[in-house]
């Protein structure tokens, strides 16, 4: 095992890795920008090096600064976490050349899977299903043949496209010709290029992914799936394992397929193969993430497999002692990402100082976070405050536990999506597992608070106003002593809400 590992990351994932290292008896080295001097990962690590200004481009993304910190600290290995340099094959390559162990796959595997076209090709070669469609641009005649073959509905998409322009959904054969014409015309206007390609349109797609783990000796196992369909603006919000949508047969097949892709690039460490799942249970390769995922805890909760610890063990040369049959899912786990954002204002980030924090606890509850009373949520980094993860014997139990845990959460100073998450846990469609990537858009009613709590909140506000007046009046009072309204009476005038 390594003596010392540098963690080229910040926030909750840096803390997650520090915890894994502490359990393994490995010393940790933190790096931090000016904005992170007061961050917990710095105080929790055994060593800490400053690497520059707050902007990631000037600190966490600067390869030379990370390499310099590795050399100064004498760390033998580097864990990239997620984001930042985690999928930068050039960085992994420099580490390899410098003789520093990169805790993750080889730079070659990162390079291959990082390029979407290459990744698709690898998937195709290993007989992994891809979303049916044309291979690149097509003529009018080819287009219609392919559309017929892959079956309607289909999408016509501008090859040079983006932003929805030159894109047409075609549901019936009779509409194809005119839609194709319009798409080409739009594409010509928007991009000066009328070439289009054809793709099967997936209705109500679900996002399901397979966690895989490989060692340096050719063994690759999968740790089953995670369903991450509840998203806003392609950002995952709620994840779970197992998926409520797939059968045991599909689970097995997806796992096998994922292992096949990973083996094709001699994959080492933890990785994720992302799939789109349609309403009939067909799944299609989307991409591979060659790093630890934000949502890895749900897999840890149901399998008992400590992914982060095993990444480190594998990087230090340990063999995976399990076979696929040793692994199984027990119960159900859910993760809610708590963001500093305002669901009512289109999930606008809400940076600021956390003036007060109470976090949930109890059986089956795990809160992976890096925040504290007084923590400053800066605009420089991702506004995720915490990952709240729960385990339950069954999905319904996990949902109720999440709901109860969210009730315990209190954050003052910044806006959060906690209320939205809580209402989602009580939504009938969500409870029935009827989720897809359009879930949040379809449920705007979950965004604002229900108004039934306005009145008690109002009473609390009035009591607080009254309390602060009292505190000024009674200056002899000790700072933490309390006043009592016991026996006093209260009245509220009819507000506009009754």
């Amino acid at each position: 095992m390594f003596n010392k590992i540098l963690i080229a990351n910040r926030g909750e994932i840096a803390i997650r890795i520090i915890r894994a290292c502490r359990e393994l008896g490995v010393k940790t080295v933190a790096v931090y920008s000016d904005a992170d001097r007061r961050s917990l990962h710095v105080a929790m690590a055994d060593e800490a090096y400053h690497i520059g200004p707050p902007a990631p481009a000037e600190s966490y993304l600067v390869i030379e600064k990370i390499i310099d910190a590795i050399k100064r600290s004498g760390a033998e290995a580097i864990h990239p976490g997620y984001g930042f340099l985690s999928e930068n094959y050039a960085f992994a390559n420099i580490c390899e050349k410098e003789g520093v162990v990169f805790i993750g796959p080889t730079s070659e595997a990162i390079r291959l899977m990082g390029d979407k076209v290459t990744a698709r090709k690898i998937a195709q070669e290993t007989k992994v299903p891809l979303v049916p469609g044309s291979e690149g641009a097509v003529s009018d005649v080819e287009a219609e043949v392919i559309a017929k073959r892959i079956n309607y509905p289909v999408m016509v998409k501008a090859s040079a496209g983006g932003g929805g322009k030159g894109m047409r959904l075609v549901r019936k054969e009779e509409d194809f010709k005119s839609s194709l014409r319009m798409a080409r015309s739009e594409a010509r206007t928007a991009f000066g290029d009328e070439s289009v390609y054809i793709e099967k349109f997936i209705e109500r797609p679900r996002h399901v992914e397979i966690q895989i783990i490989g060692d340096s000796y050719g063994k690759v196992l999968h740790l089953f799936e995670r369903e991450c369909s509840v998203q806003r603006r392609h950002q995952k919000v709620i994840e779970e394992s197992p998926s409520p949508a797939i059968s045991d047969a599909t689970r097995k097949k997806m796992g096998e397929v994922a292992v096949r892709v990973a083996k094709a690039v001699s994959y080492r460490g933890a990785g994720t193969i992302e799939f789109i799942l349609d309403q009939n249970g067909n799944f299609y390769f989307l991409e591979m993430n060659t790093r630890i995922q934000v949502e890895h805890p749900v897999t840890e909760m149901v399998t008992g497999f400590d992914i982060v610890k095993w990444m480190i063990k594998i990087a230090s040369g340990e063999k995976l002692p399990f076979s696929q049959d040793d692994l199984s899912i027990k119960g159900h786990a859910l993760e809610c990402r708590v963001y500093a954002e305002d669901p009512e204002k289109n999930f606008l980030p809400s940076p600021g100082k956390i003036e007060y924090l109470r976090t949930p606890s109890g059986p089956g509850v795990r809160d992976d976070s890096s925040i504290y009373n007084g923590y400053e949520v800066t605009p420089f980094y991702d506004p995720m405050l915490s990952k709240l993860i729960v385990w339950g014997e069954r999905r319904e139990e996990a949902i109720k536990r999440m709901s109860a845990a969210l009730q315990e959460y209190i954050v003052l100073g910044v806006r959060t999506n906690i209320g939205f998450l809580g209402r989602t846990m009580e939504n009938e469609e969500f409870i029935r597992g009827e989720i897809d990537t359009g879930f949040i858009e379809r449920h705007p009613e979950l965004l604002p608070p229900s108004l039934e709590d306005v009145k008690p909140a109002l009473i609390a506000a009035a009591l607080a106003m009254r309390n602060s007046t009292q505190e000024i009046d009674t200056s002899k009072q000790a700072p933490l002593s309390n006043w009592k309204l016991l026996g006093r009476k209260l009245a509220v005038s009819r507000g506009p809400l009754i």
Binding site: P351, Y356, L421, L463, A464, N482, S493
Partner: protein, 176 residues
């Protein structure tokens, strides 16, 4: 004593009175035991206890509420059931003032530390209420700030690329 709060455009009044005084009462015990029902008319005692820095316990006739409260000047943030309620306390004088019509010059301020990405309007441009004026970027996300009134752009006080603090005045719009 009467407290007045603004919340999402509405004005709420709440009266807290001492025991023994004659009070107009509107809180009562009701069927639902979780939350007090604040609509019927029985006089009931309230207990308010600070637990730690910002966590309070309120007991209303046996019913218990644990709530996060933060008072910043005239603003009171209340965190209850996963949601943050931002109330603005209004003194009597301010309520008088609020009755006068809004006019004159309105400022568009940066809601958070951010960078100016794009300025959509120039000086003297006529703008409608709700029309996009300026685009800022923070936390890797862009937001368009809109004009609160119909009027004319009086002054653009920043340029594209500027880094601005929370509260910085970006553009001034005149109602005339």
């Amino acid at each position: 004593m009467m407290y007045t709060f603004k919340f999402q455009g509405d004005t709420y009044k709440i009266n807290l009175e001492e025991e023994g005084e004659k009070t107009e009462v509107e809180i009562s015990a009701s069927g639902d035991s979780t939350k007090p029902d604040f609509s019927s008319g029985k006089s009931i005692p309230i207990e308010f206890q600070k637990i730690d820095e910002s966590f309070y316990s309120i007991i209303v006739d046996g019913r218990s509420i644990g709530v996060g409260i933060l008072k910043k000047g005239k603003k009171v943030e209340v965190f209850l059931g996963g949601d943050l309620y931002e109330f603005e306390s209004i003194s009597d004088r301010e309520r008088e003032k609020a009755k006068g019509v809004i006019s004159g010059v309105q400022e568009i301020k940066s809601p958070m530390p951010s960078r100016v990405v794009k300025i959509l309007k120039s000086n003297e441009d006529v703008v409608k209420e709700g029309e996009g004026i300026i685009v800022i970027e923070a936390m890797k996300m862009e937001s368009e700030l809109k004009s609160p009134i119909e009027g004319k752009v009086k002054e653009v006080k920043v340029k594209e690329g500027d880094a601005v603090e929370s509260g910085t005045v970006l553009v001034m719009i005149s109602s005339e």
